[in-house]
């Protein structure tokens, strides 16, 4: 007859290990949860402070966050900058889906009149040395958008020079700047059409 004793013993030990190891992971999770959340928030605030002048807002910007469906049909986070309850700027998370190597994640800051305050790349997989000039640490290219407007009249000029636009690309990479410029243009045009981005109730936040 089959002796089932060793089998039950082995499964018992295995179960015990599963409980112990999962318990340890759970414990670490509880210990680090708040710290991770605050680090995430600090990362957001750090990037925002690079593109929005500090005298434009004094609210808890990382908590004043709105999750809405954007022009691409995906959920996007929008942070609202306010100075003493006056609306001053919108910081919109957006994605350029057609980078040379997949998605490029961007943060676009718009003043109340939809002037572009600044743009930053937050995540990308572009080729090091070529397409990664969209990072502010590698080149000042991304800073050229600050102070510009996108209007129905000039939207055709929002393209790289090669496509008849006014923006320089960079040597060896055309697809990357093309994708970034298109994303900034579309995001800005979309935001200009929305009316409740400032007034809607905050529904996310780090």
């Amino acid at each position: 007859m089959l002796d089932i004793k060793p089998i039950s013993k082995a499964s018992g030990i295995l179960a015990l290990f599963a409980i112990c190891t999962t318990g340890l992971v759970a414990l670490t999770h509880i210990q680090t949860k708040d710290k991770i959340a605050s680090e995430k928030e600090r990362a957001i605030v750090r990037t925002i402070s690079q593109i929005v002048p500090p005298d434009l807002y004094n609210n808890q910007i990382a908590q004043d966050c709105l999750m809405v469906e954007n022009h691409q049909g995906t959920q996007s986070r929008i942070f609202r900058a306010r100075l003493n309850e006056n609306n001053t700027a919108l910081i919109i998370e957006t994605i350029a889906p057609n980078g040379y190597n997949g998605r490029i994640e961007l943060l676009v800051a718009l003043a109340k009149d939809h002037q572009i305050l600044g743009v930053r790349t937050t995540a990308h997989n572009e080729t090091p040395g070529l397409g990664d000039k969209i990072e502010v640490t590698k080149s000042n290219w991304i800073e050229h958008f600050a102070g510009l407007y996108v209007t129905a009249e000039n939207s055709k000029k929002w393209a790289v020079r090669k496509d008849g636009g006014t923006f320089d690309g960079f040597t060896g990479a055309t697809i990357t700047p093309r994708a970034v410029i298109k994303a900034i243009k579309e995001t800005t045009l979309w935001a200009a059409e929305q009316e409740s981005l400032f007034s809607a109730k905050s529904n996310c936040g780090a």
């Binding site: 295995l14 599963a18 340890l24 992971v25 999770h29 710290k35 991770i36 680090e39 040395g129």
Partner: protein, 232 residues
């Protein structure tokens, strides 16, 4: 050679997990585009290896042989998750850079290899020391590979040190030279393969000489003793 010396010798040179056992090459080749990235992944791997060797050695006598592999896997997986959570909390930006390669430490065969080959057969102290030395051997290769690639590719060393040790470390970045164009091959994965190959070749070239320096004396005494036994 004492057992401890032998373990260090095996881990760092003779049986180096990256150069000789060729384990964990996926994260090794993918993240070593700078010294700091290599160092970050190296330290994370070292901690997991140390922790898993200790745990496996502690429980080695209570685990029936049939279920040892699932138990090892469970121990390693939970340790990696813990390291991942800790890095996410305390070195947030480095965690963002290393990203997917931290969870991938689970699949680093060097770790389960040491658990099975060494920790499950040796005392806790020796297992911990073995984990430390194997981890150090892996870390050294990551750092050297990262240094060569960073130097060739972008002309710097220790770029991004602030990711690992905080903002005051920004001054650590050492600009060796400023190339007009980055040497792309060194930064991209193919460069990692080529430079890794060169490192292995270099190790093999000097293998005999270094082995002679480190264990040479030892070998001689052994031979003498053998002759004495034969004569007597």
């Amino acid at each position: 050679m004492t057992p401890l010396q032998d373990i260090s010798w095996q881990g760092i040179w003779k049986n180096n997990p990256a150069l000789v056992q060729m384990l964990g090459l996926c994260p090794l080749l993918a993240v070593t585009n700078t010294v700091i990235n290599g160092l970050g992944l190296g330290i994370a791997t070292l901690f997991v290896l140390l922790g898993s060797n200790i745990t496996v050695s502690v429980v080695r006598n209570w685990i029936p042989n049939e279920i040892r592999i699932p138990v090892f896997v469970m121990v390693i997986a939970s340790l990696v998750t813990i390291v991942q959570l800790l890095m996410n909390a305390y070195t947030y930006q480095l965690y963002q850079t290393l990203g997917i390669f931290i969870p991938l430490i689970v699949t680093n065969c060097a770790i389960i290899g040491r658990a099975e080959a060494f920790a499950s057969k040796n005392s806790v102290g020796l297992a911990a020391y073995d984990g430390l030395m194997m981890g150090l051997g892996f870390l050294l290769v990551l750092v050297v590979l990262g240094a060569v690639r960073e130097l060739l590719g972008s002309g710097t060393l220790f770029a991004g040190a602030e990711l690992l040790v905080g903002d005051n470390a920004k001054t650590l970045t050492w600009v060796v030279f400023q190339p007009d164009e980055n040497f792309l091959v060194a930064i991209l994965p193919p460069g990692a393969f080529i430079i890794m190959g060169l490192l292995i070749a270099l190790k093999n070239k000097y293998d005999k000489r270094i082995e002679h320096i480190v264990v040479g004396e030892q070998e001689k005494t052994k031979i003498e003793r053998a002759r004495v036994t034969l004569e007597s």
